[in-house]
């Protein structure tokens, strides 16, 4: 049986923890709102980009550039795993890593070579144990407070440089799509070769027939600049979705933690009061029986 002092200490320590989790929850809520706003603000660009790309790609005859059609091989897969820099956000990091890991094992058992590029430290920490040799690089975005396009652009450029150097054939992006505070969906998205929305192409073909596009400078040149940008945009979008998801996950997990701490305090307080009462009763009995003995 713990002494009264132990119980008191335990209660006050849980109270301190509760204060921290409560504060973290509120900070996450504020950050979430900002992350959500910037994710929404970035949406128009990505949508227009997609429709423009579908437009142009629909008009391209033949194979087109390698970023669109692929280099014809399917041997080396690069998994770009985007996770958070910090923990304490529930299953957010683990669920992305789990998806990537399953994919990596599936690819490896199919006889493909797998390479991994980690964006965010937490994913690296978790993947390092199993895929030490396959991890090509770790990109940390720890210093980034507000995700800007200039943070995503170098990653996109690096992917293209690696692709052109023949380091991989297919690149897939892993991130968490933000649905709501309690629901974030780990997602995989193939970015090289680019996947063009089939419906968009069909639609573009319909409208394209009535209004043929004029291309300045030329179709091929436009596609050659458009495709690399599209990759950066996809990375940027993934990072923004991730940022919102991370804060959402942190908010709900910290909410849970605060509630658990509250319950624990309640239980401990009852135990504390009971044992205090028992002690008082015991002392009274001792005094009374002592007085009677006289």
């Amino acid at each position: 049986m713990a002494s009264l002092k132990d119980l008191r200490n335990r209660i006050s320590s849980v109270k301190a923890t509760q204060k921290i989790t409560k504060a973290m929850q509120m900070v996450a809520a504020a950050k979430l709102r900002r992350a959500q706003l910037s994710a929404e603000a970035a949406r128009p660009y990505a949508e227009r980009m997609e429709s423009v790309l579908a437009n142009v790609a629909g008009g391209v005859t033949g194979g087109g550039p390698v970023l669109l059609s692929g280099n014809g091989r399917d041997d080396v897969h690069l998994l770009v795993v985007c996770t958070a820099e910090r923990g304490l956000c529930g299953a957010f990091n683990s669920s992305i890593v789990r998806l990537a890991r399953e994919r990596a094992f599936a690819l490896m058992s199919a006889g493909k070579t797998v390479k991994i590029l980690c964006v965010g430290k937490k994913g690296y920490d978790q993947l390092r144990r199993q895929f030490e040799k396959q991890i090509v690089e770790l990109i940390e975005l720890r210093s980034v407070k507000q995700m800007a396009f200039t943070d995503a652009d170098p990653i996109g450029k690096k992917l293209i440089a690696m692709f052109e150097a023949g380091e991989f054939d297919v690149a897939t992006l892993f991130f968490s799509r933000f649905r709501s505070v309690i629901l974030q969906i780990p997602t995989e998205l193939q970015i090289i070769p680019a996947q063009i929305n089939a419906a968009g192409v069909a639609q573009a073909a319909d409208t394209g027939a009535s209004a043929p596009y004029e291309y300045e400078p030329g179709e091929a040149e436009i596609l050659a600049t458009l495709l690399p940008r599209n990759i950066s945009v996809q990375v940027f979008r993934a990072l923004l979705e991730n940022a919102a998801s991370e804060q959402g996950a942190r908010m709900s997990s910290m909410d849970n933690a605060t509630r658990n701490a509250g319950e624990m305090i309640k239980k401990q307080t009852i135990i504390y009061n009971r044992s205090r009462q028992a002690m008082i009763t015991k002392e009274l009995i001792e005094i009374i029986s002592g007085a009677e003995a006289l």
Binding site: V52, N55, F149, T207, Y215
Partner: protein
């Protein structure tokens, strides 16, 4: 004059959306102005000034590369970066020029170097156009 729909978006946000009368666009192959009923065109952009004419008022924005997409529904500019001219200052352009110069130094292939050199020239044009 008839109005048409114009949208200017950068990766971070939607900067402009509304009905305008004319927009001057700095295309890589030369400046062109889009008005209602313009033929469907797709053009890349060079660093330069986009001039938006809303009839009663004009607005000037600096864009740093991107795409212009003219379709039957209107004009959409996908800018790599866009800043209203009022917020632009000499230091910022100088910085861009310096970046481009570093690109020239870092460039490995002929193509990359040529592009970087072109970019410097374009930026200097912008600087002159702004009278800074």
């Amino acid at each position: 004059m008839a109005a048409f729909h114009f949208e200017l978006v950068s990766p971070e946000r939607l900067l402009f959306s509304g009905d305008v009368e004319a927009v001057a666009v700095p295309g890589t192959e030369g400046q062109f102005t889009v008005m209602k009923g313009h033929a469907a065109t797709m053009s890349t952009l060079k660093p330069g000034i986009v001039e938006v004419d809303r009839g009663s008022s004009k607005q000037r924005l600096f864009v740093r590369g991107g795409f212009a997409d003219v379709s039957s529904t209107g004009l959409t500019i996908l800018a790599e970066q866009a800043i209203p001219v009022e917020e632009l200052d000499l230091a910022r352009i100088e910085r861009e020029i310096k970046n481009a110069q570093e690109d020239v130094a870092d460039a490995t292939g002929d193509d990359a170097r040529r592009m970087a050199v072109e970019k410097i020239a374009q930026l200097q044009e912008v600087k002159a156009a702004l009278g800074l």
